[in-house]
């Protein structure tokens, strides 16, 4: 229950039509798919408020502080973390009305926007002006504010790094209601937003992976890139991970390609299949490992890099299959434009797995890629959920991807099972398989970083020193403890 005085104050701030404690409105903020495994039941906020300006956000924070009411900022709400599901009730601050693109600086190739501009909108506007932002590993309906502060992957990460490296500066309302700007935006008088560091110790990443605990992003400047002459997706197929990985690693060392990921098991089929059965049939005839690469650049660069890719594929017993794929054009379109089609047909629903998001996501050094894929296959062959590896039950299919960050000094490994997210059988299989997978990979030396996703208490830990420091800073920012309380359970960090 929200105190009537709180609701009245919120209505005064945003207008009575944009603040309510009606349970019928609140319930819409009570669930994402990860809530299956996190809570078992769904949790509504006590009230919802929709600010439209930074000063409204500041005033709402002041009210929450005064009444010591939990405050949960909500960006796109598209996450695999239950990050915005209120653990302890309180106010959901839905930033939906803050959806303006404030400026596109064509000289600095940056864009400044409010938090609720979707990736799709931002891409459209930038491409109109001859620029692009990397397509994220998320639906393009995700907002820039959410994705850049909490997302990782994109389809050009080998060349540009993960999403957060595109943050130039942020404007945040801190939990005490004050306004912080970072980078050159911190200068109260210049208005320049083009430089991402400092002044002095770099606080640009204050909102990054902070799940709202450090404040509310009300503005963000991001880096874009000039459109290249050519974008060429190219896929190499391999039957053995021992062939695929060296080719992959050598390409990374040669610093060619804009994007690169190694798919094993099931997932690559899912992009082109529109039913579960279709995905299964495709998986029967498709090669076991696929190296999905994108080459971008001038004509000469693309020609050169394509030649190297073909040579390295050939050298490692692979073959280029892109030329024959019926759905090839989809990749050409989506690599430069929107992730929608990639995440549309089948993958989004099924790969999500019960609990949403890959079951495992962890950073790995380049030499651990082969052991990770092998562990997945071995585990799957021992697990009844998968049946026979070659004739696997399509309902629960194992899969894994490795994708490197900028320059390829490490890769992120995603793994899990793909199944219909509401299928009780799948949930059961998931609950049995995922802890096994996490343990198997941890034995190799690859640890999950899914604290924010579907990892449950007791599944992994973070060093106490790190947590102590994080808690110190959180407390320095929010001594009252109003911001998204309970979102990070101490139980998770044994």
């Amino acid at each position: 229950m929200i105190e009537p005085a709180v609701l009245e104050r919120l209505k005064d701030i945003v207008g009575s039509e944009f603040a309510t404690d009606d349970p019928e409105v609140c319930i819409a903020y009570s669930r994402d798919l990860a809530t299956y495994l996190k809570f078992g039941k769904y949790r509504s906020p006590d009230c919802v408020v929709l600010p439209s300006t930074t000063s409204e956000v500041q005033n709402i924070v002041a009210v929450a502080r005064q009444f010591k009411t939990p405050l949960i900022p909500l960006g796109s709400g598209i996450n695999v973390a239950s990050a915005h599901i209120p653990r302890k009730g309180g106010i959901i601050m839905d930033l939906r009305r803050m959806n303006n693109i404030l400026e596109i600086d064509e000289e600095a190739v940056t864009a400044t926007l409010q938090p609720h501009v979707t990736i799709a909108r931002m891409s459209t506007e930038l491409q109109r002006k001859g620029f692009f932002i990397p397509v994220p590993g998320a639906p393009s309906t995700v907002t820039v504010g959410s994705n850049y502060t909490h997302g990782n992957t994109n389809k050009a990460s080998l060349r540009f790094g993960f999403q957060y490296s595109h943050i130039v500066s942020v404007e945040m309302v801190l939990p005490d209601g004050s306004l912080l700007r970072t980078g050159s935006w911190a200068d109260a008088f210049s208005g320049d937003r083009s430089w991402p560091r400092g002044p002095g110790p770099d606080l640009t990443l204050l909102p990054r992976y902070a799940l709202g605990l450090h404040g509310i992003v009300t503005g963000i400047t991001i880096k874009a890139h000039p459109l290249d002459d050519i974008c060429l997706p190219i896929w190499a197929a391999f039957e053995h991970v021992e062939d695929a990985t060296p080719a992959f690693v050598e390409m990374v060392h040669r610093e060619i390609c804009t994007g690169s990921s190694l798919y094993g098991g099931f997932k690559y089929n899912s992009y082109s299949a529109d039913t579960a059965e279709c995905a299964w049939r495709q998986s029967r005839i498709h090669p076991e490992f696929i190296l999905a690469l994108t080459i971008q650049g001038s004509k000469r660069r693309v020609a050169f890099e394509e030649k190297v890719v073909r040579e390295l594929t050939d050298k490692n017993n692979g073959r280029i299959i892109t030329d024959r794929l019926p759905f090839y054009q989809m990749f050409v379109d989506t690599h430069m434009a929107m992730s929608a089609s990639l995440y549309s047909e089948f993958a989004f629903k099924y790969w999500a797995s019960p609990g949403a998001g890959p079951s495992f996501l962890g950073p790995s050094s380049m030499d651990k890629i082969i052991p990770c894929f092998k562990a997945m296959t071995n585990l799957a062959s021992e697990d009844e959920a998968f049946g026979d590896v070659d004739w696997g039950n399509w309902e629960f299919n194992r899969s894994m991807i490795a994708y490197p960050d900028q320059g390829g000094h490490f890769a992120i490994i995603e793994g899990g099972i793909a199944a219909h997210p509401t299928d009780p059988k799948a949930i059961k299989a998931y609950k049995r398989y995922v802890p096994k997978l996490i343990k198997a990979l941890a034995d190799i030396g690859v640890s999950p970083d899914q604290s924010r996703a579907n990892t449950r208490p007791g599944e992994f830990g973070i060093s106490p020193e790190y947590l102590e420091l994080a808690e110190k800073f959180r407390h320095a920012l929010d001594e009252v403890g109003i911001m998204n309380p309970g979102v990070i359970s101490p139980l998770i960090y044994r």
Binding site: E17, F18, T20, D22, P23, E24, V25, I27, A28, Y29, S30, R31, D32, L33, V48, L50, S76, G77, I78, D94, R96, R97, I101, V117, T118, I119, A120, R121, M122, S123, T124, E125, P139, S140, T141, V142, D333, T334, A337, M338, S339, A340, S341, Y343, S344, E345, F348, K349, A352, A356, H420, P421, T422, D423, P424
Partner: protein, 402 residues
């Protein structure tokens, strides 16, 4: 908690509980809220949910409504004004279905419609919608018009026929509020030498009753019309109104086999146009745009026929708005919304007019009287001209050189 059922085909679901897994299947990917990303034309016009755009709370978008329905099924939510407001401000335009069908396949309007039916079963009928049922029951139309006047428009243009291979079903909105559409349609048909009749006792098609969960009343009035048509021995029925068209096209959902072909006027005219039997000249060079009626386009994929007809008019250039075809933005009239929450209709149609203006357009052609009316209402002070396609074409017919 309701038993989870796995993946039953929507048509096989019988009660709201049967939709529980669909509500759970939604995990907020957000595609239902926006124009399909790769088809965005302008960053200012990316929303596609009329009620969500107006009220902004998650509950007013398809994804939020899935939670609301889950709340009803699980017994967390009781029937309240707010609940009804959330359920009944959806225009059933199907934009969310279009996106969701490509992603998660929840088909939100199916779930919302079932929730409305449940509401009605539990005595939750909103005054505006109750009035509709009363009017249909008493006057056999939505507008309390005198039933005897229904065919007034037809004098000298069309005849009631006891037997006719082709029947023109104008619908009560056209008859009561936009008779010019019926007149224009008749002129078009006559210009082609088409022999057609109209029904002696046509009633409301029932679509707004279906949309508002009053299924039994809807079936009653729909059946009456079907029987009348069968009595004429008609093989084809032509519609001006996308609502009526949908009511008949969906009849199988209510266990009714029609036994005759259902065509929108634009579908009927298309073959004649292809054969070169239709030529239009409005005597002017102009650029117009086309508003897709949701119940014609998204539901039944009648996208190209009206466009081909408009493009065939001499001197006319068809320019699309930023959101068109599958991504078209609803005028806000459908789903029974305008009878209970006209402010939603006003907001949606004003948004659409803004879009047309932003794209530099000043003339909109549509193919449904309800779209025409709501867009006209939003154009009173801004000079936007709104036409029904029958009117637009028949005016060109006058100047056709034989």
């Amino acid at each position: 908690m309701a038993q989870r059922k796995k993946y039953a085909f929507p048509a096989n679901r019988e009660s709201l509980e049967d939709y529980y897994d669909m509500t759970l299947s939604c995990y907020k990917c957000g595609y239902c809220k926006y124009v399909w990303p790769s088809r965005i034309q302008h960053d200012k016009f990316t929303g596609q949910c009329p009620s969500g755009e107006k009220y902004q709370f998650e509950s007013y978008y398809a994804s939020g409504r899935m939670e609301v329905v889950r709340g009803i099924i699980e017994g967390h939510l009781k029937w309240t004004d707010r609940l009804n407001h959330i359920l009944y401000t959806c225009t059933m335009c199907g934009a969310c279905d279009e996106s969701c069908g490509q992603v998660e396949r929840v088909y939100p309007t199916d779930v919302i419609l079932e929730a409305r039916r449940t509401a009605v079963k539990e005595g939750q009928i909103l005054p505006g919608h109750q009035q509709l049922a009363k009017s249909v029951s008493k006057h056999h139309n939505l507008y309390e018009s005198d039933h005897a006047d229904r065919n007034n428009w037809a004098k000298g243009l069309a005849d009631v026929k006891s037997r006719s291979k082709i029947i023109y079903f104008a619908g009560c909105t056209t008859e009561s509020l936009k008779p010019s559409i019926a007149k224009s349609t008749s002129k078009l048909l006559k210009s082609l030498g088409v022999e057609f009749g109209i029904l002696p006792d046509g009633w409301c098609c029932g679509m707004p009753l279906f949309d508002t969960g009053q299924t039994d009343d809807g079936v009653k009035t729909l059946k009456h019309n079907i029987e009348q048509i069968r009595d004429t021995g008609a093989e084809t029925v032509i519609f001006s109104d996308a609502w009526c068209y949908k009511a008949f096209r969906d009849s199988k959902d209510y266990g009714i086999e029609l036994g005759f072909k259902v065509l929108h006027l634009t579908e009927f005219l298309a073959p004649y146009l292809a054969k070169g039997k239709l030529k239009f000249d409005r005597g002017t060079n102009e650029t117009v745009t086309y508003q897709d009626p949701c119940y014609l386009s998204r539901y039944f994929e009648v996208y190209e026929q009206p466009r081909d007809l408009i493009k065939s008019v001499k001197g006319v250039t068809l320019k699309e708005m930023y959101r068109s075809r599958r991504e078209s933005f609803c005028c806000g009239a459908a789903g029974g919304v305008k009878f209970q929450f006209p402010e939603v209709t006003e907001h949606a149609s004003s948004t659409r007019i803004d879009e047309a203006k932003h794209a530099g357009l000043s003339k909109i052609v549509t193919a449904c009287p309800s779209c025409q009316i709501s867009l006209e209402d939003a154009s009173k002070d801004n000079g936007m001209e709104i036409y029904d396609i029958a009117e637009y074409l028949s005016e060109g017919l006058k100047k056709t050189k034989k």
